[in-house]
């Protein structure tokens, strides 16, 4: 039974003084028992027996001696039982030590002064601080940028009032500054859900058992989901492929914009653009190429437009560009530039000149006001005109 506890562990336990008290007890009991027996024997043999007329044979004496010997030896037996209990205790301790090391959470034990008493493997892995290095030091010594007053007050409350404390990620983010191996989104430090529980030892001292859960992933996930939701919200106004606005947005934007133009006496122009023979491109090269062309086309348009202008994907290959503070002349200028760019740019994956477009231009002026529908209809008529005249051109009203 002794070899279950290896020599090193025994030496460790011996050094830690674990055996001291039981050993003392055993020795003391042994001495007392021996002394009592000795006195008893002597008394019996030399004093009492002669006073009585009982004769005791040698054999009986042998038996009595044997019994006395057994009683004398009994403390040694108790010591052996104690060693057996030590083995069981060692196994139990090992099991628990393994338990805190098996858990996928950080476990540490601190006292009221914030001195570390225990530090589990998870913490060793995540912080790079070994258990040897950590034990005996203050938390503030182990982490130079430690800054969690809530942890300090939680430890104090926990130890003083023996009440478990929760430290949520929501209100506190983290308690121990542990950098993430791979930063997620805008998070650089591990996000932690922490609880602090009181643990009282046999001497009546209370320590705080702190358990740290890594919740970084779920925090990152939920904020990613939130961002996605926000994005989708904005996408209900946008055409996903090209990034231009969609028809839905056009109508909600245009009417108020026209009212503003009336108020400020500003001109507003409309370009209706159509990619020439787009169906042919789709049929010849496939829809993926068609999509790429649409994207490339929209990019060129965006480049030529100013910040206050709006680009809308009006149909399959049709776009509407609304130019604010632009009269007919400015609109024509911009349309011509677009035409030129489209002719001379290679819109991937096609070559230069493979893609052409037709543009119809209409303008709204304070002197000749019209409704939103009319503005677009006019641009449409001009576009038709351009197409009819051979494409790859700009057509404007008289």
């Amino acid at each position: 039974m002794l070899n279950s506890l290896n020599a090193r562990e025994y030496t460790q336990r011996w050094k830690s003084g674990l055996f001291r008290t039981p050993l003392r007890i055993v020795v003391a009991v042994g001495i007392v028992v021996f002394t009592v027996e000795f006195l008893l024997m002597t008394l019996l043999h030399d004093v009492i027996l002669p006073l009585t007329s009982i004769t005791v044979t040698d054999r009986i004496w042998s038996i009595v001696d044997a019994v006395m010997l057994v009683v004398l030896v009994s403390p040694a037996l108790y010591f052996l039982v104690f060693l057996r209990m030590q083995r069981d205790f060692a196994e139990l301790t090992r099991l628990f030590a393994n338990l805190t090391d098996t858990l996928m959470i950080g476990v540490l034990l601190v006292d009221t002064d914030l001195r570390v008493h225990r530090w589990n493997q998870w913490l060793e892995r995540k912080t790079g601080i070994s258990s040897q290095q950590a034990c005996g030091k203050l938390l503030t010594e182990l982490f130079a940028d430690f800054n969690s007053p809530r942890l300090l007050s939680a430890i104090e409350l926990c130890i003083k009032h023996k009440s478990p404390q929760l430290i949520s990620q929501t209100l506190n983010r983290y308690v121990l500054p542990i950098p993430l191996v791979s930063p997620m989104h805008d998070l650089k430090l591990m996000q932690q859900q922490v609880s602090v529980s009181p643990l009282t030892n046999s001497r009546g001292e209370t320590l705080a058992a702190i358990s740290i859960n890594d919740v970084t992933e779920s925090v990152a996930k939920s904020s990613a989901l939130a961002r996605l939701a926000a994005k989708m919200e904005s996408q209900s106004n946008r055409d996903q492929l090209t990034g231009a606005y969609n028809r839905h947005f056009l109508w909600s934007w245009l009417a108020p914009q026209l009212r503003q133009s009336v108020r400020h006496s500003q001109a507003l122009s409309c370009l209706m653009l159509d990619i020439d023979h787009f169906k042919r491109i789709n049929d010849t090269y496939g829809h993926d190429v068609g999509d790429a062309v649409l994207r490339g086309f929209a990019e060129i348009l965006h480049e030529q437009m100013r910040d206050s202008d709006i680009l809308v994907r009006y149909g399959g290959e049709e776009f509407v560009a609304l130019l604010t503070h632009a009269d007919a002349a400015v609109a024509l200028e911009i349309a011509s530039r677009i035409l030129e760019r489209v002719r001379t740019t290679a819109i991937a994956p096609l070559d230069v000149g493979d893609v052409r477009c037709s543009i119809g231009v209409s303008s709204w002026m304070p002197e000749v006001p019209c409704s939103a529908e009319e503005l677009l209809k006019e641009a449409d008529r001009r576009l038709y005109h351009a197409k009819h005249n051979g494409r790859d051109q700009v057509a404007m009203g008289q």
Partner: protein, 207 residues
């Protein structure tokens, strides 16, 4: 509930000190001055708490509790009407709350309220320990949001609490700068109020 004058007085003082502690904690959390009304205190059998509280039985309430055991046994429960607790949480969590989705918001409120409730209950219970000389061990906090009857039903299932007594402490709090106000109920169900005050009696009668 046969309590003599001294016990009633002690109860009022207990509520005053306990809720003042809670207000102090909240003031530190919110970094704001908290005003509170003089607490109303009542002792009723556990089964009658719902009526005694006079809260709309359809209104939702956020409840945080911690059980305690030792010289006295029972549960300490803190209740805030839902709108008040939401406002409190949003004040503490700050603008990042706007970004959260519906489900996450509930999770955020849940987590935050558990911690806030935990802090307040701990400080309130420490008053019991200090004033009444009762050393108790506390459990981890629990949280539930629902109507008052639902919460009481759930708690008595966990508690076998129907023959317990309940001490109700009610106050109205106001965070001055942030302009948040709310009602707070501290409910302590205890095997016996007499037992709770036992030590106090011994202490005071030893005069």
């Amino acid at each position: 509930m046969e309590l003599d004058e001294l016990d009633r007085d002690a109860l009022r003082e207990l509520a005053n000190v306990g809720l003042s502690r809670a207000a102090t904690q909240l003031s530190e959390l919110l970094n704001d001055h908290i005003e509170m009304t003089v607490p109303l205190v009542q002792v009723v059998p556990y089964g009658q708490v719902t009526q005694a509280l006079q809260l709309d039985s359809h209104a939702t309430v956020a409840a945080v509790w911690q059980s305690f055991s030792g010289q006295s046994e029972g549960t300490s429960m803190l209740m805030f009407p839902s709108e008040d607790s939401k406002r409190l949480v949003h004040a503490l969590v700050g603008p990042s709350v706007q970004e959260a989705g519906e489900d996450d918001l509930r999770g955020i409120e849940h987590e935050a309220m558990m911690e806030i409730g935990n802090i307040i209950i701990t400080s309130g219970m420490s008053v019991i320990a200090d004033m009444l000389g009762q050393e108790v061990q506390m459990s981890l906090p629990g949280y539930m949001e629902g109507t008052l009857p639902d919460i009481m039903a759930q708690r008595s299932r966990d508690n076998a609490g129907l023959d317990m007594q309940a001490i109700i402490m009610f106050t109205h709090l106001k965070a001055v700068q942030r302009e948040i106000e709310g009602r707070m109920v501290m409910l302590m169900s205890v095997d016996s109020v007499q037992v709770l005050f036992d030590r106090l009696h011994k202490l005071l009668r030893g005069l």
